[in-house]
């Protein structure tokens, strides 16, 4: 229970269906003296909202401490990725390593049959397995950030909001008299808050990584203050002014070079996914892929290259495939699997 309306409604729905419900707020991030943060999500006031909802629903409620695994598995990874010139997705890492790993294990120790969250996604139970599907309410579909869940994990998970729209969720919250009914959704990276994530990264890594900004002909256009300031597809902060806008096309961390080019240089038709996982094993027909959270579904073909690496070929090239983000493969609404987009793709680009 983050203290938002979605997880509040999940608790309310399950309770009204007669389940034996326990509310948990995961404390993921903390200030220097161990206090709950004051900005972003998971703030002290959010956990207070969650506590009030749990009290209203008359369910046991706990704040449990995951700061160590979150810091190690999510925040350190976030910083590492930027330092490597990649574009991280901390929500995916958090789901993989904290929510549906550490937390799920703890829930099992407490003899809970299922962990339910306020994610918008759908689980379909078949005779022999569980499938993960996009939420019926596509505007809010969050299956992308859940792609790493396997059928055997889904067996222990519930997403009660998979068939409900956001306005309906707010209505249910209002009907249940929950104070979070009209609370604004949080869009921030929870541990960065409203601050610029680059300031956050700057404070935590050695920024003596300044180097050249290089255009497609190989000539130096200017200097940059560190590769972590850039991500592939970025326009802001590139020198050059007049004429065609320029975009970051590739980041070479070892040589501290940021390559820029025209928009067409960002066109990608094939790339690789690493650390690939499948919900129920690979499929090859009628596939599409999302290369960012809630982005367009692009028709594609896939081929396993090694045990964990997948080659993706798009039927139509696209802009803005950013290394570090995840490629998530669907067959219609059925989520097949996904993995992290590697930086290899840009080596095929002209620079």
């Amino acid at each position: 229970m983050s203290g938002g309306v979605d997880s509040s409604v999940v608790a309310g729905l399950l309770k009204s269906q007669g389940h034996d419900v326990i509310g948990v707020t995961m404390k993921l991030w903390e200030g220097p003296n161990g206090e709950m943060p004051e900005t972003g999500c998971c703030t002290a006031s959010d956990s207070e909202d969650a506590r009030k909802v749990a009290a209203k629903l008359d369910i046991p409620y706990y704040v449990l401490d995951y700061t160590e695994s979150f810091s190690e598995k999510v925040v350190d990874n976030f910083i590492d990725m930027y330092a490597q010139g990649l574009t991280p997705n901390p929500c995916v890492e958090c789901n993989r390593s904290v929510k549906f790993d550490h937390f799920l294990k703890q829930a099992k120790e407490l003899n809970c049959d299922k962990v339910a969250t306020g994610h918008y996604a759908k689980i379909i139970e078949n005779e022999n397995n569980f499938e993960l599907h996009k939420a019926d309410y596509l505007d809010k579909d969050q299956s992308y950030v859940l792609h790493m869940l396997s059928s055997s994990t889904l067996e222990h998970v519930m997403f009660p909001l998979g068939t409900i729209s956001k306005p309906e969720v707010r209505q249910i919250a209002a009907d249940l008299g929950l104070k979070t009914a009209f609370k604004k959704d949080s869009q921030d990276i929870c541990f960065v808050g409203k601050k610029n994530y680059r300031n956050f990264v700057d404070k935590r890594i050695d920024i003596s990584t300044s180097g050249d900004i290089v255009d497609r002909d190989g000539s130096t256009m200017g200097q940059h203050e560190g590769v972590h300031e850039f991500t592939v597809g970025q326009r802001k902060g590139i020198p050059g002014g007049q004429g065609e806008p320029k975009y970051v096309t590739k980041i070479d961390v070892r040589n501290k070079k940021v390559f820029v080019g025209d928009k067409k240089d960002l066109l990608t038709s094939s790339f690789y996914l690493e650390d690939v996982s499948f919900v129920n094993g690979i499929e090859n027909e009628n596939l599409t892929i999302q290369t960012r959270y809630n982005s367009e579904d692009l028709p594609c073909e896939i081929k396993m290259i090694t045990k964990n690496t997948l080659e993706v070929s798009l039927l139509e090239p696209t802009y803005g495939v950013a290394p570090g983000q995840f490629g998530v493969i669907y067959n219609g609404t059925n989520l097949i699997g996904g993995g992290r987009i590697t930086s290899k793709l840009n080596e095929t680009l002209p620079v």
Binding site: I22, K27, E35, E48, P60, Y62, L64, D65, L110, N111
Partner: protein, 382 residues
């Protein structure tokens, strides 16, 4: 589970109010609600109840009534005594000697003193949680303003050698305040402050069956300290703020009952704790903190081998047993204990401890009942 089936073993955090404390509170608030500092008949009545309570409380601790000041709780008393000697202190080299295992009220005040630029010595403890008198004494010098060492630790119950320290301090030719946070120790020790050799002490009402929001500061008549709260001249002109007369009277009644029944009470608590520890000891791989040293009767801090105490605490709560782990923070998430860290408990084991604490209304059989819940919960977790 029904509320009355809930087994409460967190008395060291707060113990329920005694029936007599409830009655006295209600009575005082109804017949003597007036401000005790006023000049009319109802104020005189309140003032009289206040001073009778002060006399009675002072008597329990071998102190003079004027050595007793009522505060909002143990935390205020600790803050007052530790901070005030450093306000406008002309000696820039003034020092504070305390320990790593103090209650947060003392450690937080010490941190504040340090932030003003004064030197603070945090005395370590040994692996059993005992502070060695010599380790305290070696940091005491002519610049020492105050020495603050707790009597019984709130997390482990381990008793500290206060008398040994006070006797050694007497040999030194220097001026200092020897303060002790006796909040936990008061629960099951009879204390004569002058005899122990301390100049000040902090006591909390709700740890002995009195109400929350009222506490006692003992300050020996030899010591003068500036006021902490300024305003009206209440409490012998030491502390501003309308005195919580009903709270004080209620605390005094609770203390009377507690002190007068202590021998019987302690025996019952000790029996229950022994049964509890024995049963766990016989069935599980556990370690009882401080079981070979002097320990307050009501606290049992247990290290469970290879069990995460956060999960265990939740599982016990769900089965109707309320205990605690480390110190609570605002959100309810609990951090590893600074006391166990000071005892050099390893990182793997520090998250395997729970504190079970017994109290005045613990029933015969509760120890075994608690152990049975722990055993069944642990069986269910694996």
């Amino acid at each position: 589970m029904k509320k009355d089936e809930y087994l409460y073993l967190d008395h060291a955090a707060s113990t329920p109010m005694r029936e007599v404390a409830f009655e006295v509170y209600k009575y005082t608030e109804s017949v003597a609600f007036a401000n005790s500092a006023g000049g009319h008949a109802l104020s005189r009545k309140a003032k009289n109840i206040l001073e009778e309570s002060r006399d009675s409380i002072a008597n329990h601790f071998g102190a003079a009534p004027k050595e007793i000041t009522f505060t909002s709780g143990g935390t205020e008393a600790d803050n007052w005594i530790i901070k005030m000697p450093f306000i406008n202190n002309k000696n820039k080299n003034a020092e504070l000697v305390t320990s790593q295992i103090e209650h947060e009220a003392v450690l937080g005040s010490a941190e504040w003193v340090e932030s003003l630029g004064y030197k603070v010595h945090l005395t370590p403890c040994d692996k059993d949680g005992v502070i060695k008198a010599d380790d305290v004494l070696k940091n005491v010098n002519k610049n020492t303003e105050i020495i603050s060492i707790m009597l019984g630790n709130n997390e482990t119950g381990v008793v500290q050698p206060i008398k040994e320290i006070s006797q050694a301090l007497k040999e030194l030719d220097s001026e200092y305040i020897f303060h002790s946070d006796v909040v936990q120790a008061v629960a099951n020790r009879k204390l004569d402050f002058h005899n122990i050799g301390i100049q000040s002490a902090a006591i909390s009402g709700h740890k002995i069956g009195g109400p929350k929001g009222v506490g006692i500061m003992f300050l020996s008549s030899e010591v003068k300290l500036p006021s902490f709260l300024h305003g009206g001249k209440q409490e012998l002109e030491r502390r501003a703020g309308t005195v919580n007369v009903s709270g004080v009277a209620s605390l005094s009644a609770a203390l009377d009952e507690q002190q007068n029944s202590m021998i019987v009470q302690n025996q019952k608590i000790l029996n229950e704790r022994s049964e509890f520890e024995k049963k766990l000891w016989n069935s599980l791989d556990v370690m009882v903190v401080g079981d070979t040293v002097d320990r307050l009767d009501h606290i049992s801090n247990i290290q469970f081998s290879e069990i995460n105490s956060e999960t265990l605490m939740v599982a016990l709560d769900l089965k109707g047993l309320g205990v605690s782990r480390g110190s609570a923070c605002a959100s309810g998430a609990q951090k590893p204990s600074h006391v166990l860290q000071a005892m050099k408990v390893s990182n793997e084991k520090i998250n395997s401890h729970l504190r079970f604490s017994f109290g005045w209304n613990t029933n015969v059989g509760d120890g075994i009942k608690a152990a049975d819940i722990v055993l069944s919960v642990i069986k269910g977790m694996s």
